[in-house]
Structures are given as structure tokens and as C-alpha cells.
């Protein structure tokens, strides 16, 4: 019942082209070959997702038929100057910054302040020197191929940041991973692959950003593995500000050790089509995950977040707060799946999804799910969909604030709860500005009430 051979073909075609070029350009690094093989095998066995598959029920993949995505195999963008990406920089740039251009490390743009002992930074393609054994072993350790694109990433992974913190190391200040995509003549596809490993008791802050330079069309297919040891702590801030014609798919897979703390803030603001899969697995007791996210969809933007939180062990806590803002003919899809395994007693999970619809032609499809196999648990989820409170609008307008601005203020306030969970002040400010500017530029519809 899956798609016919012709539609299946495009994913296979991406794989074939990618492998062809990779063979020419990249020397096969032995330690990656197992991952690539597993990915190739996965692509061969997995069909392209379609609406019949529950996890892709609301996710349209029509764009795959419209463009032939060419593999981007090398980064011919060493020519890119720091000044070119000035607009993309945070006001208070982190002292450690890894910049990837079209999926490949651009060493000229990176900032590498001396970090504490026990912090290892490396890049998948070897741009920062030989990849240490401990990172090699961890690659692909927790990645699951939940869909064909994850397998595609494993088969064709281009480059990415590999971060390792030894036990007990506390990192001062954030590490920034900045992706810059430049549209090519032919829409390209790249497969960034990141790995973040925190050993027991380590603490770090990571900022991960995906930006577009110009408004080219391209497809980012990222996979991020995060492994947290016991008592470790990671503040993970992700911002998707891709170009308005880009497709962005990222699959974040997190494994939590005992008593670890994982805090994720996701701001998905850009792209024509965006899907973020987040899978968090509790592997040790007493761990906590706090996941917050904001999805913006305006003017035919499609913005999709799929959460899969797996409470496999007792005494873990998770909090999920995701908000959607819809304008124009934007569409938001939210799927929040929480599973509490048998015997994962004393689980405490609260999920909330709230959506603000500003326009007639927008659409929200939301599906919070609880799957519970243990009895001594506290789980709940709540969802709302609605428009701006007319009383609030009236209040602001009665104080002389124009309708557009009032609307924007209220949206800003709605989003602030999510942005406030970002540890980085500079990132918070940027998220706020981006949201404001995007809300302003969206065309008000005729006949709006």
C-alpha cells in the first residue's frame, strides 16, 4: 500500500547519486563504513513515508516529486567570508563556534577558543583532525532509523560536529553549531550528522542553528545524536531559520542516563517545509527532560513537530510545552507521543500544545498521545486551538495601538514563554526579532475579522 515504485525511486535516486559522488570525492573512512552500510540497507528496505503511515499522516511530501535534489558533496564555499554571514551571527557570539556551509565544515568561519580540559571537539569529515576513538565508538550508538530519511542520513552523512565532554567537566559558555545553506542552481540535499556525548556529571550548553543565506531552495536532512551520562546536564537550544524555500528535516535522538537533565528549546521559524522529530529515551532513573518549542507557519509554510518521549524506567519526569502560531495559509502539525513502559512507575509527564490561529486559511492538526503501561504514574496532556482573544485586542487598540501591532504584541507574548527557556540571551533576542519581523511581513488577509 506504500507509494508505487516511481515515488520510491526518488529516495533511492538521492541515495544512488549521493553514493556516486561520495565515492569520487570522499575517501571512505573505515570507522564510518558500518554506519553507512546500515543506512544503505535501511534505505533499501524502507518505503518512502506516505499518509497511510501514522507518523506521516499529516506530513505532505509532495516536494520530493517536484525537485530532483542533487547531492552536495563538497563545500566549495571556503570563499565565504565572515562578513558574508554577519547577519546570521548572534550579538554575543559564543567563543566556540563550528560553522558548516552546505553541510561541510568551513574552518575559516569557525571560532575555537581554548576550552577546558576534557572537552573534545571534532568533525565527522576530519576537518578538525583525527577523530578520537571515544567519539568514533559513540557514533550511531543510539540512532534509530525510524523513517527512510534517517537511514538516508546514515548512508550519506556529510559532516557534523562531534562533541565529547569527559566526566565531571563543566563547560563555560555555549558551543554554537551554525549551519549556513546557500542555494545552488540545482536544489541540493545535505545530510549533517552531529553527536553530543556528555559523560557522567558533565555539563554543557549547545546552540544549534540552521540558517539560509539568500532564498535558495535546498533540503537539509539532519540527524543529531545526544547521549547523556549519569548526573550530566545539557542545555540544548535549536533554532531553525532556513530560507523561505528550503525543506528542513531533522531527527534528534536523545538518550538520558540516571538523574541527568536535558533541556531543549526548539524554535522552528523558517523554511517552506519543516519537520522536527525529537525522540527522548529515559535510560536511567531520576532523569528529567524539559522540552519546549515554538512553531511558526505563515504563507504556505508547513511546520511539523513530532515528539516521541519514552519513559522506559521509573522515577523520570518530562515536561513538553509546544506552541504554534499560524498565519496566512500556514499549517502546523504537532504529534506528541509519550510512552510509559511497563514498570516505569512514578513517571511524571505533562505535555501541552497550544496553537494560535491568526488567519482563515491556516490549518492545525494536532495529536497528543499517551500510551501508558504502568499504573503508578501521573500523566496528562492538554491541547488548545483558538484565535487571539478579541478582548485583549480591543484593550490594546483602545490604548491607541494599531491592530497589526497589537496582534504582533500578543503573538510575541504567546511565544515568549518558549523563548524564555533559552539560556542564551543573544539567541532569545534573535528569536524574538525573527518572529516579530516574520509576523510583520506576512500579508494581512482580506476580510479578516
Amino acid at each position: 500500500m506504500s507509494s508505487d515504485t516511481q515515488t520510491q525511486h526518488d529516495v533511492q535516486e538521492i541515495l544512488r547519486l549521493g553514493q556516486q559522488r561520495m565515492a569520487r570525492v570522499m575517501p571512505d573512512t573505515d570507522w564510518q563504513s558500518a554506519t553507512r552500510k546500515r543506512g544503505t540497507a535501511g534505505v533499501a528496505t524502507m518505503a518512502r513515508p506516505d499518509r497511510k503511515q501514522e507518523a506521516w499522516r499529516y506530513t505532505p511530501l509532495g516536494f520530493l516529486d517536484q525537485a530532483e535534489f542533487q547531492p552536495i558533496v563538497e563545500g566549495p564555499f571556503d570563499a565565504l567570508q565572515l562578513s558574508d554571514i554577519d547577519d546570521l551571527m548572534l550579538t554575543d557570539p559564543p567563543r566556540i563556534r563550528l560553522v558548516f556551509v552546505n553541510g561541510y565544515l568551513a574552518s575559516g568561519l569557525c571560532a575555537m577558543a581554548k576550552s577546558a580540559d576534557g572537552v573534545t571537539l571534532s568533525s565527522l569529515a576530519g576537518g578538525l583532525g583525527e577523530v578520537p576513538a571515544m567519539l568514533r565508538q559513540q557514533l550511531d550508538a543510539i540512532a534509530e532509523h525510524n523513517h527512510v530519511f534517517a537511514a538516508l542520513n546514515s548512508a550519506l552523512m556529510s559532516d557534523g560536529a562531534l562533541i565529547h565532554l569527559a566526566a565531571g567537566v563543566h563547560l563555560d559558555g555555549p558551543i554554537e553549531i551554525l549551519h549556513v545553506s546557500v542555494g545552488l542552481e540545482q536544489p541540493g540535499i545535505c545530510h549533517p550528522r552531529h553527536l553530543i556525548v556528555l559523560e557522567d556529571g558533565a555539563r554543557a550548553e549547545v546552540i544549534e542553528r540552521y540558517c539560509g543565506l539568500g532564498d535558495g531552495a535546498y533540503f537539509t536532512n539532519a540527524l543529531i545524536e545526544v547521549s547523556l551520562g549519569s548526573d550530566s546536564e545539557l542545555l540544548h537550544q535549536r533554532m531553525q531559520e532556513e530560507s523561505p524555500h528550503a525543506q528542513h528535516l531533522s531527527d534528534l535522538q536523545v538518550h538520558l542516563g540516571a538523574r541527568s537533565l536535558y533541556r531543549l528549546t526548539l524554535a522552528a521559524l523558517g523554511g517552506a517545509w519543516s519537520r522536527n522529530d525529537v525522540r527522548v529515551t529515559f535510560g536511567g532513573e531520576g532523569a528529567t527532560a524539559e522540552l519546549d518549542g515554538l512553531m511558526l507557519a505563515r504563507d504556505r509554510q508547513f511546520n511539523d513537530v513530532h515528539l516521541d518521549v519514552r519513559h522506559e524506567v521509573p522515577h523520570c519526569t518530562s515536561r513538553e510545552t509546544f506552541k504554534g502560531i499560524l498565519d496566512g495559509s500556514g499549517r502546523v502539525v504537532f504529534d506528541g507521543h509519550i510512552v510509559v513502559a511497563r514498570d516505569a512507575q512514578k513517571t511524571d509527564a505533562v505535555l501541552s500544545n497550544r496553537n494560535l490561529m491568526l488567519a482563515r486559511s491556516a490549518e492545525v492538526d494536532t495529536k497528543p498521545q499517551l500510551e501508558i503501561y504502568a499504573d503508578d504514574v501521573k500523566c496528562s496532556h492538554g491541547t488548545t486551538v483558538g484565535e487571539l482573544d478579541p478582548d485583549m485586542l480591543f484593550y490594546l487598540r483602545s490604548r491607541g495601538i494599531p491592530a497589526d501591532q497589537a496582534k504582533q504584541m500578543l503573538c510575541q507574548g504567546f511565544a515568549q514563554e518558549v523563548f524564555d527557556t533559552m539560556a542564551s540571551q543573544a539567541l532569545r533576542a534573535r528569536a524574538g526579532q525573527l518572529l516579530a519581523s516574520r509576523l510583520l511581513t506576512s500579508t494581512p488577509e482580506q476580510g479578516e475579522r
Partner: protein, 481 residues
């Protein structure tokens, strides 16, 4: 309802059984399903030609379908050729007195508070001839006829009200709707037709107790209720007493049509055989229920208490087409032992200012598996539509499971949708409080659970609500401690 009228109800049902069983005993056909079987059914039911055509069309469509597999219920594959599609229910031997009845069953009746005469009726004991059930039934029938209400079996409707049946049969649940609805459309043998004329308020609660062809649990039951403009009807289905049935698969279809300003209230209490301790042999209850609010300001309300069956798989739904129409769904589902339930509702908001309320309470004990699965869809035209959904699950025991899968699709910004769900076990502090006041553990659990379900019981017709509360307490006996 007073106990006398309960006795009457039981007797009405009982009395009918007598006349009916002998009548159809000769009609048993061997297992298997093909067009000849369908022709046979149609012929025995003396149906008009178009009904046969309808059945055949459904059957041909069904042949091209595969059983759905998306639910979270698990059961061995059903062999549809191993089912006899027109078998008279096995005639129960008439017993001399209650002494011959399974004492376990009697204890259950006792706890439910079922009056003695009714107990006899339910367990198949001969009853005093003083209660002339036939005349009682006739009285009811006369009352209904005076009001202009048509209340008869679906086969009778096919013969006597063909024009009405033809207009509405399959108009809410088409034969193409799903696998089991198609099967039902092909082979339905039993069921009820209710027609409430314009402006009429049905003078009594219609219940399958009263039904004129009281063969209670048809395997492929088909119910059709049409409420014309401004009319009002309340329909009760099922029974709190344990129902045993030889047929394992039940694939019923219920269609409700509410015209402008009409109101239909449909209440179900289901307590079919859940199977033995290992979950073997229980009923599979796969039902398609849908109501169509066709006119402005119409209202359809579903209330269900599901405690029986090995598998309950149904989603009573409302299609809110008329402006200002209202849909409601109130549900209590209990799963224990190895019972499974996948139930919920669909509220499809098409008209302006449509409103829907969903309150679902799931109680899972032992190895019970339970899922709420629901859809709320706000179409683009559904201006100012409103939905509130609340799904709560109560877990008793560490082997049970409770899931919530709500789907929410909104295409209109003025629509407001709220969904909330919680899952928890009975609070130790609540239990402790009750125990410290001298309640036994079982009574305490019963008290807490009944409080948990109160919102739903309030929606049931009074006499059902009382029985449902007791039923719940019995269902959960031994689940704690």
C-alpha cells in the same frame, strides 16, 4: 423506574422470546457467506427487492476490503466463512425455578438489585402467567402509535415502511464506510427502526426491553433512528445484567438522523460476556455508530457504559452539519482481566456555531487494555465552533494499560478546541481517607471510581444510572488489594 415497571420490562422481553424462537428455529443455515446466503436472508425476511440489491452491493464491496488493523486491540484473525449468518439463537431450556440457575449469576443479579421476577426472566426461568407480557407490550405499542412514533424491527420496517427505510438506510453509515459496516450492510438480520414524526416528543424512553421483537443481541444488528423536525427521542440499548451469547463477533451499525431542532439521546449499557480468566471466548464488539445532525439546532447525544465484551471497538460519532447543532459523547469504559477496549468518538464540525462535548472515562484494571481514540475536526466553514474534550484514565494494577490518541484538525481560526487528558491511579491519600472512615477497601475503591464516573452517570436515564453504578462496583470487585 420502580421495581414493578422493571418487572414489566423484563416480562415484555421474556414474553416475546417465547413466540419468536420457535418461529425461526427452522431457519438455521450452515456457516459460510456468499450471495446465495444473502438472498436467503433477504427472502426469509420477506424484504423488498431493493433491500436485497443493497445487501448485494454491500457484499460485493466488502469482498474487496481487508479487515482494519490500525487499532490497539489484538485478536486472532476472524474466519468470516466459519460464521453462520442466519442462525436462530440457541434456545435456552426453560428452568423450573431459580434453584436451577447458576448461583454465581444469581449473586450478580442480587448485587445489581434486579427484582426477582426480572431475575427469572433473565436467567430463563418460567414466570407466573399472571403477568401478561403480551398485553403490556400491546399497551406500549398503542401509546407509541397514538403519538405517531414508528418503533419496530428493521425487517418489519422494510415491509411496512419501505419508503422511509429506503430514504435513510445507509445514509449516515454508507455500506462503503468500513469493513465491518460493509459486512453488516450485507447480512444484517436484526435491529430496530424508530421514526419520530415532526414535532413529536416520544412519550416514553424507548428501550430494547420494550422492543417488539425482543431478540436482544443480534449478531449483525442494524439500528436506524430518524427524528423529524422538532422531535425528541431517548433510546436505551442494552442491559446491565450479564449477557451471554453464542456469537463471538458482533458487528452492529447504528445510524441516527436528526433534522432541524430534533434531539436524539442514545444510551448504551453493554455488559456482554468478557471471556474467561484468560480472556478466551469473550464477545468481539465491533460497532459503527454515527449520528447525523442534518438540521439547524439539532442535537445528538451518545452516552455509553461499556463494561463487558472481550474487545470493544467503537466510536460513536456526530456529524454536525446543521448550524448551531450539538454533539455530545459521554463514555465510561471498564476493562479488566484480559479485556480490551478501543473506543472514542468523532466530532465533525461542518456547520456554524456547532458545539461538541466529549467526556471519556476509562478504568483499566488487571491486564485490561484501553484506548481512547477520537477525532475533532473543524471544517473551514465551522465558524465559532466549539469543542471541549476531557479524557481521564484510572489505572488499577501494574499490568493494565491506558492510552489516549486524540486527533485534532482545525481549519477555522474562530473555532475553539480544547483537549485535556489525564492518567493516574487511585490516590493513596483518597483511599486512606476513606479507609480511615471505616470503609472497606472495596467500598472505598467503588466510591472513588463512582465519583470518577459521576459526570457520565448523570447523563444516563435515572434507572440506568443506578444500575450502572452497581455494575461498576461489581466489575471492579477483586481488582484492588
Amino acid at each position: 423506574m420502580s421495581s414493578t415497571s422493571k418487572q414489566v420490562d423484563a416480562l415484555v422481553e421474556r414474553g416475546y422470546e417465547h413466540g419468536f424462537v420457535t418461529d425461526i428455529e427452522t431457519d438455521v443455515i450452515p456457516p459460510g457467506l456468499d450471495e446465495d446466503v444473502i438472498r436467503f436472508i433477504s427472502q426469509r425476511k420477506q424484504e423488498p427487492e431493493w433491500v436485497l440489491e443493497y445487501r448485494l452491493k454491500a457484499f460485493r464491496h466488502w469482498l474487496g476490503m481487508t479487515p482494519p488493523v490500525w487499532s490497539s486491540v489484538h485478536y486472532p484473525q476472524i474466519d468470516f466463512q466459519a460464521i453462520s449468518y442466519f442462525a436462530a439463537p440457541t434456545k435456552k431450556p426453560v428452568l423450573e425455578s431459580l434453584d436451577q440457575v447458576d448461583p454465581e449469576l444469581l449473586r450478580t443479579y442480587e448485587k445489581l438489585g434486579i427484582p426477582l421476577e426480572e431475575q427469572k426472566a433473565l436467567s430463563g426461568v418460567a414466570v407466573d402467567a399472571v403477568f401478561d407480557s403480551v398485553s403490556v407490550a400491546t399497551t406500549f405499542r398503542k401509546n407509541l402509535a397514538d403519538a405517531g412514533v414508528i418503533f419496530c424491527s428493521i425487517s418489519e420496517a422494510a415491509r411496512e415502511h419501505p419508503e422511509l427505510l429506503r430514504e435513510y438506510l445507509g445514509s449516515v453509515v454508507p455500506h462503503t464506510d468500513n469493513f465491518y459496516a460493509a459486512l453488516n450492510a450485507a447480512v444484517f438480520t436484526d435491529g430496530t427502526f424508530v421514526y419520530i414524526p415532526r414535532g413529536v416528543r416520544c412519550p416514553m424512553e424507548l428501550s430494547t426491553y420494550f422492543r417488539i421483537n425482543a431478540q436482544n443481541t443480534g449478531q449483525f444488528e442494524r439500528t436506524l433512528i430518524v427524528a423529524e423536525e422538532g422531535s425528541h427521542v431517548s433510546y436505551l440499548e442494552g442491559c446491565t445484567a450479564p449477557q451471554r451469547d453464542e456469537n463471538q463477533l458482533h458487528a452492529a451499525v447504528v445510524e441516527l438522523v436528526a433534522m432541524q431542532d430534533a434531539q436524539i439521546k442514545y444510551s448504551t449499557v453493554q455488559n456482554w460476556y468478557p471471556g474467561d480468566a484468560q480472556g478466551k471466548g469473550g464477545i468481539y464488539n465491533f460497532v459503527t455508530k454515527r449520528g447525523d445532525c442534518r438540521g439547524a439546532r439539532s442535537k445528538i447525544s451518545w452516552t455509553q457504559v461499556e463494561t463487558g465484551s472481550a474487545i470493544t471497538w467503537k466510536y460513536p460519532s456526530c456529524l454536525l452539519r446543521g448550524d448551531d447543532s450539538v454533539g455530545e459523547f459521554y463514555s465510561v469504559a471498564v476493562t479488566k482481566g484480559h479485556q480490551q477496549a478501543d473506543t472514542g468518538t468523532k466530532m465533525i464540525h461542518l456547520g456554524r456555531n456547532t458545539r461538541s462535548t466529549i467526556v471519556s472515562k476509562g478504568i483499566s484494571a488487571g491486564d485490561g487494555q484501553q484506548a481512547y481514540r477520537g477525532l475533532v475536526r473543524m471544517a473551514q466553514r465551522a465558524e465559532n465552533a466549539r469543542n471541549h474534550t476531557q479524557c481521564d484514565s484510572l489505572l488499577i494494577g501494574d499490568r493494565c494499560a491506558a492510552h489516549t490518541f486524540p486527533y485534532i484538525e482545525v481549519k477555522n481560526p474562530t473555532a475553539k478546541v480544547e483537549h485535556e487528558a489525564t492518567t493516574s491511579k487511585i490516590g493513596d491519600d483518597q483511599l486512606f481517607y476513606c479507609r480511615s472512615r471505616g470503609l472497606s477497601e472495596e467500598d472505598a475503591v467503588s466510591l472513588i471510581v463512582n465519583g470518577f464516573c459521576k459526570e457520565i452517570f448523570n447523563e444516563l436515564p435515572m434507572e440506568f444510572a443506578v444500575e450502572a453504578q452497581k455494575l461498576l462496583a461489581i466489575s471492579l470487585e477483586g481488582a484492588v488489594g
